[in-house]
């Protein structure tokens, strides 16, 4: 399955964080690469959504929807900076 990117989950991220997140700067906990969430690799279609680093491909974030509740694992991120509202 070919990955998409963070744009595709912009709606879900908005729901989870309460604001626009595709511009949020995410830092990979493994290789330290930094960039907007929009540019991360995103794998849809599994039981959950997997967000991977575009540099080292390690898992940065997992999102699983269970009975209309979204569970989020941010364990692969060393930093997530919310964008300024504009």
């Amino acid at each position: 399955m070919e990955p998409v990117d963070g744009n595709a989950i912009g709606g879900m991220l908005y729901d989870v964080f309460g604001c626009e997140m595709t511009m949020a700067q995410a830092e990979c906990g493994r290789c330290g690469a930094r960039g907007p969430l929009a540019e991360c690799e995103v794998y849809l279609g599994g039981p959950g959504i997997v967000v991977r680093c575009r540099g080292c491909h390690d898992i940065m974030m997992l999102l699983v929807e269970v009975r209309e509740m979204i569970c989020v694992d941010l364990g692969g991120l060393s930093e997530l900076e919310r964008p300024a509202r504009r």
């Binding site: 744009n7 729901d15 626009e20 929009a38």
Partner: protein
């Protein structure tokens, strides 16, 4: 929580189809009326949600194909194994309604103040947000130069063909070409980009949308040509869709 707005979240709204435009044999544009629509930016998208009688739900993201200030519209390509696109391209009629939330996204967005020159690259139905950007540029009488590189399988698969005649567009037809075709007839690579993209010295701003492999080729090619990676905005929609 269904149908309720989380604090600061996005609300699912009812979208009613006001017009159906057949773009190609596999692609349709749906013009929509959405109660409470607050307007959108060029390049943003919406999530569409369909609910089956048994409660099963499927969601897909679609780029907005209309310009800011215009009613929302989406352009949908039928995917044979799709859960959402067969309904949107075959079943839906004017007056029908479905759920939608948005507008979504702040990254793949162009505002006139962002400047250019704009180099837009689209594969297949990845041309939808480019129509929004090109219309916005026109509607705001922006003097930013814009050029679209557009890869399709065949001439019959070219979306917005008449409208794009009024823009600066370089086509490539990757599968079949009509007799006398003088445009490109191959998949995008760095040599092709060197011929069609603005030179890096002009400080261009690039938007690239299409199937993942198309986007990867274009983004890598533009970086090789010296484009600043922060000036290349990408949006990938996976392994399907013709380019």
């Amino acid at each position: 929580m269904a149908g309720a707005a989380v604090l600061g979240g996005l609300t699912w709204r009812v979208a009613t189809v006001t017009a159906v435009v057949d773009e190609t044999p596999r692609v349709r544009t749906l013009e929509l009326e959405v109660a409470g629509w607050q307007g959108h930016l060029a390049g943003q998208h919406v999530d569409v949600r369909l609910t089956a009688e048994d409660g099963y739900r499927a969601e897909r993201a679609y780029s907005l194909a209309s310009a800011p200030g215009e009613p929302p519209a989406i352009t949908v390509e039928r995917l044979e194994d799709g859960e959402v696109s067969p309904y949107l391209t075959e079943t839906v009629r004017r007056g029908d309604a479905f759920e939608l939330r948005g507008p979504i996204g702040g990254y793949f967005v162009w505002r006139p103040v962002d400047g250019g020159p704009l180099f837009l690259a689209a594969g297949g139905s990845g041309v939808a947000p480019m129509r929004s950007i090109l219309r916005h540029r026109r509607n705001t009488m922006s003097d930013v130069r814009a050029r679209l590189f557009y890869s399709s399988r065949t001439l019959e698969d070219v979306i917005y063909r008449t409208e794009l005649d009024g823009e600066e567009v370089v086509h490539s037809l990757t599968r079949a070409q009509p007799p006398g075709w003088t445009g490109y007839a191959r998949r995008v690579d760095v040599d092709l980009l060197r011929e069609v993209a603005w030179p890096a010295e002009d400080g261009p701003l690039a938007f690239v949308c299409g199937p993942t492999s198309f986007v990867e080729s274009v983004a890598a090619g533009l970086v090789e040509l010296g484009y600043a990676s922060g000036r290349i905005k990408t949006e990938r929609f996976g392994g399907t869709g013709g380019s």
